[in-house]
């Protein structure tokens, strides 16, 4: 456990000092700031625009961070041979994978915290005060974090298997496909082809259903997240990440570092 924490902490320290990360955070904060302007030109729905654009910025830039750093999590260690310095020590391979995963997740949590703080500053600037109803976006931010947990798990899995470029392409494809799984399944059912229908149904169950985590628009309109959805999404993410990280560990256990 101590070794996993050590790998987590040092992965966080290394990633948190990455300049790419700072650039993305700055862009995200600029976008959140810009959503105030968009709100001002949208008469009567300023609040909705700010919440919608602000939370979307957090989600998009967070996913970019997750993919950009996640894809190099293992493959860059192998490519740069830094992995020799870790695996030659009394470290189990599963500890390395878990440490790397939690390290990036911690980085994303902290960055999301910074972006969320920026979002609330923008909200306060627009409303001049904050009330209990302004806690609603926290639910959406929690779901965004769950999405990050899934994206990082996929990025880590591909990072154990492939090159950083291919890992980025695969992870991004899964992220996009994961938002349109309902459409994908509907399309399969409409084709009247058993094969296509079978494949789309398989993908529907296999890929993470990101659409269920997307409550940004509902939050912007003041809709509360139900306890059932909260619990279901949390359990779904936990189970999905456990399976995916286990698969990554299995792949990594067999890997040779020439």
């Amino acid at each position: 456990m101590a070794r996993i924490w050590s790998i987590t902490w040092h992965t966080f320290k290394e990633a948190a000092r990455d300049r790419v990360l700072y650039n993305l955070i700055v862009f995200a904060l600029l976008m959140i700031g810009a959503s105030i302007l968009f709100g001002q030109i949208s008469v009567g729905i300023e609040g909705i625009i700010l919440v919608d654009l602000g939370l979307s910025s957090i989600a998009v830039f967070g996913v970019l961070m997750a993919i950009l750093i996640g894809i190099g999590l293992v493959s860059k260690e192998i490519e740069r041979r830094t992995i020799f310095n870790v695996l030659s020590k009394p470290v189990h391979r599963f500890e390395f994978i878990l440490g790397k995963y939690f390290g990036l997740l911690l980085t994303l949590f902290v960055n999301t915290g910074v972006m969320a703080a920026g979002f609330y500053v923008a909200l306060f600037y627009q409303k001049r005060s904050l009330g209990p109803e302004d806690l609603l976006p926290l639910g959406a931010i929690y779901f965004i974090l769950l999405q990050f947990a899934l994206v990082v798990a996929w990025a880590l899995f591909f990072s154990c298997l492939s090159t950083p470029v291919l890992s980025a392409v695969f992870t991004f494809s899964i992220y996009v496909a994961g938002h349109f799984l309902g459409d994908l399944r509907f399309f399969g059912q409409e084709t009247h082809s058993r094969l296509v229908s079978g494949v789309t149904t398989l993908l529907y169950y296999l890929l993470p259903n990101f659409a269920d985590f997307d409550v940004i628009t509902r939050t912007a309109h003041g809709e509360k997240i139900s306890g059932v959805l909260f619990t279901a999404n949390s359990l779904y993410a936990l189970l999905y990440v456990t399976v995916l990280i286990s698969a990554a560990v299995l792949v990594f256990e067999e890997k040779e570092f020439r």
Partner: protein
């Protein structure tokens, strides 16, 4: 109990893009590294040195054969708590400083925070990085990175130190420091296994060496024995020999090089040495020096690697029978 023991250790890599086929990079390696000795793994590039070290550390897996470390199977991860490893051309995280990395390395060995700090400071001093220990590693030169590699290999005060080309990337001063560091470890009765293609380093540091070539063990033995193994030739320097003496020597087939008044002769066997000395005494020529030219590690290495055949079979048999 030996520190390391490999038995018929073999490694194949799959090569080819579509149709993978095995390529043997190490074949039936039988080695024993005794506790407390400095053991050199010698060989040209691609000989299988790094492969051997990575197999010992479990970074790659054997195709067949066995590796035992301190009597236990290589798969036992806890064994690595007693090992320090410097990889070839080491690389570290760009954004961490040497102090942070050593702290990280120490934590992976389960060292307490205070102990990590104390050891890190001592090692940074020892490898000459104390002044720059707090700057990010991305600003380090190649030599500094190599020094950090050595420091992290020693953070756990290991019983067994495995160094893959430890002198690589170092200037002459750095190489001297690493040599001293290995001699320090030797004095502390630590076991050191290192790979190198710099033979003078092996000659200075090793108790025993193994020579690998194309994945096969070509020679194995004690450095002292290799160096004392035989006199390759004898060099005799004569002071101002007359033309008549020179003609006599030429008729014997002795090769001679004239430098000023002196003539340097290279004589191949003892009988010839006696005959040359007889001529010198008879003709009253001053003998300046008689120097036996001994076989160097480089000579031995070149014979093993270039010719690829056993030239000192007696020595090999002795070495192997000692091992058995």
């Amino acid at each position: 109990m030996p520190a390391i023991e490999t038995t018929e250790l073999t490694k194949d890599y799959a090569v080819g893009f579509w149709r993978k086929r095995p390529k043997r990079v190490l074949e039936d390696l039988n080695l024993e590294v005794a506790s407390g000795e400095v053991f050199g793994l010698l060989g040209p590039n691609g000989a299988g040195k790094s492969t051997t070290l990575k197999l010992i550390l479990g970074l790659i897996f054997p195709t067949s054969g066995a590796v035992r470390i301190f009597g236990s199977d290589w798969r036992d991860v806890s064994l690595r708590a007693r090992i320090g490893f410097l990889p070839e051309n080491p690389s570290f995280y760009d954004n961490l400083s040497a102090e942070e990395f050593l702290n990280y390395a120490g934590s992976l060995f389960g060292l307490a925070a205070g102990e990590r700090r104390r050891r890190a400071a001592k090692l940074l001093e020892q490898v000459g990085l104390a002044e720059v220990g707090d700057i990010p590693v991305r600003r380090y030169s190649k030599g500094m990175v190599q020094r950090l590699g050595l420091a992290q290999a020693l953070i756990n005060d290991p019983e067994l130190v495995i160094l893959d080309e430890p002198m690589s990337g170092l200037d002459p001063l750095g190489r001297r420091e690493v040599r001293d560091l290995i001699l320090d470890l030797k004095a502390q009765k630590r076991t050191v296994l290192f790979s190198t293609h710099i033979l003078s380093d092996a000659e200075t540091l090793c108790d025993r060496v193994a020579i690998l070539h194309r994945g096969r063990l070509q020679g194995l033995g004690e450095i002292g024995e290799i160096l004392a193994m035989g006199v390759a030739s004898t060099e005799i320097v004569l002071e101002a020999p007359s033309p008549g003496v020179q003609d006599s020597l030429a008729s014997m087939g002795v090769s001679a090089v004239r430098t000023g008044e002196r003539v340097r002769l290279s004589v191949q066997d003892e009988a010839e040495v006696e005959r040359v000395l007889e001529i010198a005494v008879r003709e009253k020529v001053k003998v300046v020096s008689i120097t036996p030219v001994r076989l160097t590690l480089e000579d031995y290495f070149m014979e093993k690697v270039e010719k690829g055949k056993p030239v000192r079979e007696k020595f090999d048999r002795q070495a192997l029978s000692r091992k058995g």
